[in-house]
Symmetry: C2
Subunit: 201 residues, 2 copies
DNA sequence: TTGCTATGTAAGCACTTACTTACATTTACA
DNA sequence: TGTAAATGTAAGTAAGTGCTTACATAGCAA
């Protein structure tokens, strides 16, 4: 007999794939069933209705920020290298979860609450983790008196839009050398700014 | 007799509204016709098919960066104030064109080329305008030797994501005081960075 | 063997969608 | 006044869509 859990997973995987390509309305239950190698009826027996399928995808593929476990390993590094490691990790996570991010962007107007919940669990929480790291730097006297939560959010937002622009809008994969280049330039500007030192502006 | 141009505009306006709320597939031609106060048939007589309606919306509501005409007026201001003016103007433009931005985000996977064209004409070109301004600052010795195109893109991307996060994801309007606050903090970090001056990192 | 669970096949229902056809009405203008 | 352009009303079509019902089958467990 077929393993119901494995069947369920294949359905969710197919749903993720198709909704990320065609949107919630564009992905039909028939097509999802085909892609999963399953009868359409099986979908309705397991999930009841299409909307529930969507909710289960959002629950199942929400990615927990994998930043927390990175922090200890970089805590003793020089600041630029530590920030670069964080940036690279963040971009890599987005790349891994590309299909999920695509869904979030497409459906943020149509299903705001469900999508917002999925979003909060990820990018917002990464902001807090980064803020914590910056706070430790500041207490060591390494950072100026700037609002750290804002600084952290800025840092991550640049990377998010970089990812979005390249991989989702232009369908062009970010190579690891491009990632290193962008992150390097970001860290430089983030740490020292663009202005000549001591200039009054 | 009815003015065909005015009718056409009402249809496009209704299309913009409904597609921005429900997505391309979710916005039906019947509903668009109702919202425009027009017979459904009139839509097909004027545009032939739904897809063409969508294309016309993208053409019609593409917003030209209103950054160019701002530049001359701020060229002589102190750098922080000039950048703040640019940031505020950019955020305001995004707010004005909110419905259009919503469509771009929702449909960037389903209609990549059409949306990418609309996108290029706006945000990318703003990047170039800002890069030009920064280059003039740099030639006056006010900016360090950083890649200016990258710096400009970073600056705008932070604002774009700020807008997206507040107004589109969280459906919460950015007040002008919030805008000034975010832009102020952004300019401070953008100009001077977060790191203590002279610190080795 | 028997029965239960997970799935399949087939047919179809009620509804919606983009789009069409045929005919009528209004109104500016020559 | 007459004509043509711009729109409307009405009815409908073909192709989906989510979802259901009825019945069959394969395999594990008692």
């Amino acid at each position: 007999m077929a393993d119901p859990l494995e069947t369920r997973e294949r359905i969710l995987e197919a749903t993720l794939e198709l909704i990320s390509e065609k949107g919630y309305l564009g992905a039909t239950t028939r097509e999802i069933a085909n892609q999963a190698g399953v009868s359409e009826l099986t979908i309705f027996r397991k999930f009841g209705k299409k909307e529930r399928l969507f909710e289960e995808v959002l629950k199942n593929y929400t990615f927990l920020p994998r930043l927390k476990d990175l922090i200890p390993t970089i805590e003793e590094l020089p600041v630029p290298e530590a920030l670069e490691a964080i940036g690279i990790r963040f971009l890599s996570t987005l790349k891994e979860r590309k299909r999920f991010v695509r869904i979030m962007l497409s459906e943020m107007n149509t299903y705001p609450e469900k999508v917002r919940n999925a979003y909060s669990q990820t990018i917002e929480e990464m902001g807090q983790t980064l803020t914590g790291y910056l706070a430790r730097l500041q207490s060591k006297g390494l950072l100026r008196d700037v609002p750290l939560d804002m600084a952290a959010i800025f840092f991550l937002r640049i990377l998010f839009t970089t990812f979005m622009n390249a991989e989702i809008l232009n369908q062009k994969e970010l190579s690891s050398s491009e990632m290193r280049s962008v992150v390097g330039q970001l860290v430089a500007i983030f740490l020292h700014g663009v202005m000549t030192e001591g200039a009054a502006g």
